[in-house]
């Protein structure tokens, strides 16, 4: 009886030692993995910061204005004027003769269509 107790204890100690050994290595691996990831995150952040700075630099109003001027022929961009936008309720209702009666669901209109 005593022998069995000794044996199981010894086996348990060996088993626990193996388990602890494995856990130790897994922890070490996990730590080095987090370190590697944190390094990557840091690098990504640094890269992102540079990209953001570049984005801001390339989108600076002065440059966009110059580009709009250079490419005026193709883009025809001009500063926004107050008369270019308004409220929907300020737009007059279209006169009656431009409206077409559409009664049925399948009625379609080709008014305003250009050849």
């Amino acid at each position: 009886m005593r022998m069995i107790l000794f044996m199981t204890t010894a086996l348990a100690v060996i088993g626990l030692a193996v388990w602890a050994y494995q856990e130790n290595y897994r922890t070490q691996n996990a730590i080095s993995e987090t370190e590697r990831l944190q390094g990557e995150i840091g690098e990504a952040r640094a890269r992102l910061a540079v990209l953001r700075a570049e984005w801001a630099y390339l989108n600076r109003p002065e440059r966009l204005r110059d580009l709009a001027q250079i490419n005026y022929d193709s883009l025809q961009l001009l500063p926004l004027r107050p008369d270019q936008f308004g409220k929907i309720d300020q737009v007059a209702f279209p006169p009656r003769d431009t409206l077409i009666d559409l009664d049925d669901a399948v009625d379609v209109s080709s008014a305003g269509d250009r050849p």
Binding site: R45, W55, A56, R60, P61, P79, R96
Partner: protein
């Protein structure tokens, strides 16, 4: 335990027989018993003290051992910790109200030299001078061959420059990592941002510290690692600032002005949406403060905040508003404007003779000095001071710029009745355009004081009421009239119902002794839309001359007003204000009910 009796019968009897006092035996026994008790108590106390001493010793040994370990071992970052909030950069970004970057950091390198390790000093000096045209070869040779063991050559290198220096291939040239402050928009909002420079420098890193503007004001906050690199959000709108700056620069050139300033502020929240001072500078390469000449002539000078000027007639509306507030007048009260108004040997004149009487509205619309001065006489010095103080004209504006705290308005120590009269039309009290913006904002938002701020905020400032709702509205109607049929007729922008007041003030001579005849500061203080103001815009031009006519015109109506009108045309759509045009003819609307 067997207790020893105090009076053992045998001993007592023996003592009685011998004729001795038996009490002596009892006393002796009591003494012995006490001694025993004392000895036992001492042993126990000593034991306790010993255990306590051991515990304390153990504690001290643990603490000192830990201290020794900490001091001897090298610092290691905690490896297994997850940290979501790592320090990303040394200094937080600054962004505009819509999150666009105004200031950020960029990694770069500094170049330093260690001459003792240098191999071919002359060649290194020659090649460095070829890469950096601002370095002198002779000077470098002298530095390298002298006694110096270490010197900084360049604080910031571009990647191309770094590669070129690397290609020299000398071991005496070394690079140190740096974080530099970058303002990607260049000159835009330069006076607000200020600038940054290096503080303490080391080979591995250098401190970046703010030197002016918000960078200095929020230096601690921006550098605080506890904020986790959270960007500082300003109230500035990048697009609006760019458009306004362009218009103002164009206007300044067109009107031949020496300098210009503009402030655009939200009347309810007090947010400064745009603030410009021209000429400006590039905060990436901030110029040194001037060593000669007036500091106010330097591009570093923020005219909108630091520039204290007598702004002239723009102040008349405050006198009129206060007269209404005190019940001394209403918009249609007739005011005596017969001129000139004499006060001692001092005469107050109008630009033109406007007849002997005008309504208060007309006084503002035509900008009559005499009429305003008469109102001020009725108000009196003390009440006038109180009102102007309530509007914030006596103290520096507590805006988030380091420069603002030095800009305390200038006013006469002895506030005589004459001062009261001249100050009512804006002479004798020097304030910054930002002060004026705060004053006009109070009229525009219905009478509540606002304190200008550069930080984005979402809720209106609920400041103390300084003007009643009705009088603020009456004042706004007067301001609108100034534009529709007064001195600011060029200021009307269809759809935005601009209201405002012009001010043309002669510039005082620098050395004292009166005013220049041909140098003015032209200011237009405007609110738009006048029926429900959202923004206040101050445009101020220094020494403008409009030369399209046969003779030069300097009044604000010809100089500052057209610039302000163009500015409103450009920026109002960017601010999301829809023009309120006359609705078109509503045709063919049939009311139906079903």
């Amino acid at each position: 335990m067997i207790r020893k009796p105090l009076r053992p019968l045998a001993s007592i009897l023996r003592a009685r027989d011998a004729g001795e006092n038996p009490d002596a035996i009892e006393r002796e026994n009591v003494r012995q018993r006490h001694e025993e008790m004392r000895d036992k108590g001492r042993v126990r106390a000593e034991g306790r003290l010993f255990i306590m001493a051991i515990l304390f010793l153990g504690g001290f040994i643990t603490v000192s051992a830990r201290m020794a370990v900490v001091s001897v071992s090298e610092a290691v970052e905690p490896r297994a910790n997850y940290s979501g909030n790592r320090i990303v950069a040394q200094r937080a970004d600054i962004v505009d109200r819509r999150g666009r970057i105004l200031a950020t950091n960029l990694e770069t390198y500094a170049l330093y030299a260690q001459p003792p390790q240098m191999i071919d000093k002359e060649r290194v000096a020659r090649e460095l001078a070829a890469i950096f045209p601002d370095l002198k070869e002779e000077r470098l040779v002298k530095d390298f061959t002298g006694k110096r063991k270490f010197l900084w050559i360049k604080k910031k290198l571009s990647p191309e420059q770094k590669q070129a220096v690397h290609d020299i291939g000398d071991p005496g040239l070394q690079f140190g990592t740096r974080e530099m402050r970058l303002y990607p928009n260049g000159k835009l909002a330069a006076h607000i941002l200020g600038g940054a420079s290096f503080g303490k420098e080391d080979v591995r890193a250098a401190e970046v510290i703010g030197v002016a503007g918000v960078e200095k004001y929020f230096d601690e906050v921006l550098r605080d690692p506890a904020n986790g690199g959270k960007a500082l959000t300003l109230s500035i709108d990048l697009t609006v600032q760019a458009a306004a700056e362009r218009v103002l620069a164009g206007g300044m050139k067109l009107m031949n002005a020496k300098s210009a300033a503009a402030v655009l502020m939200d009347v309810n929240t007090g947010e400064i949406v745009s603030m410009i001072s021209l000429p400006d500078f590039d905060p990436n390469d901030r110029p040194r403060p001037p060593t000669k000449g007036l500091p106010s002539d330097s591009p570093l000078f923020n005219r909108a905040v630091q520039g204290l000027y007598e702004l002239g007639s723009v102040f008349k509306i405050f006198a009129a508003t206060q007269a209404m507030e005190l019940g001394l007048a209403n918009p249609s009260t007739l005011v005596n404007t017969a001129g000139p108004l004499r006060w001692g040997k001092f005469k107050i004149r109008d630009f033109r003779d406007y007849g002997s009487e005008m309504t208060l509205t007309k006084v503002i619309v035509k900008s009559s000095n005499i009429g305003t001065a008469r109102m001020a006489q009725l108000i009196g010095a003390e009440r006038q001071q109180g009102f102007l103080r309530d509007l914030g004209f006596f103290e520096p504006i507590p805006v988030e710029l380091v420069e603002a705290h030095g800009a305390k308005p200038l006013y006469p120590d002895n506030w005589s009745e004459l001062s009261t009269m001249t100050i009512s039309y804006g002479h004798g009290l020097s304030t910054s355009p930002l002060h004026l913006a705060a004053g006009y904002a109070a009229i525009a938002n219905g009478g509540k004081r606002v304190i200008p701020t550069l930080l984005k905020r979402d809720t209106p400032q609920d400041g103390p009421r300084v003007i009643s709702q009705e009088n603020a509205e009456a004042a706004r109607r007067m301001l609108r009239m100034v534009v529709t049929d007064g001195t600011a007729s060029f200021g009307d922008v269809p759809g935005y119902a601009v209201g405002g007041k012009t001010g043309t003030a002669d510039k005082p001579k620098e050395n004292g002794g009166g005013y220049y005849d041909d140098k003015v500061i032209a200011t237009f203080a405007s609110i738009f839309p006048a029926y429900d103001p959202k923004y206040v815009l101050i445009v101020s031009l220094d020494e403008p001359v409009e030369t399209s006519g046969p003779e030069p015109r300097r009044t604000a109506g010809w100089t500052a007003v057209p610039v302000a009108a163009e500015m409103i045309t450009r920026i109002a759509p960017l601010l999301g204000l829809r023009p309120d045009v006359e609705p078109g003819r509503l045709t063919d609307i049939t009311l139906t009910s079903n």
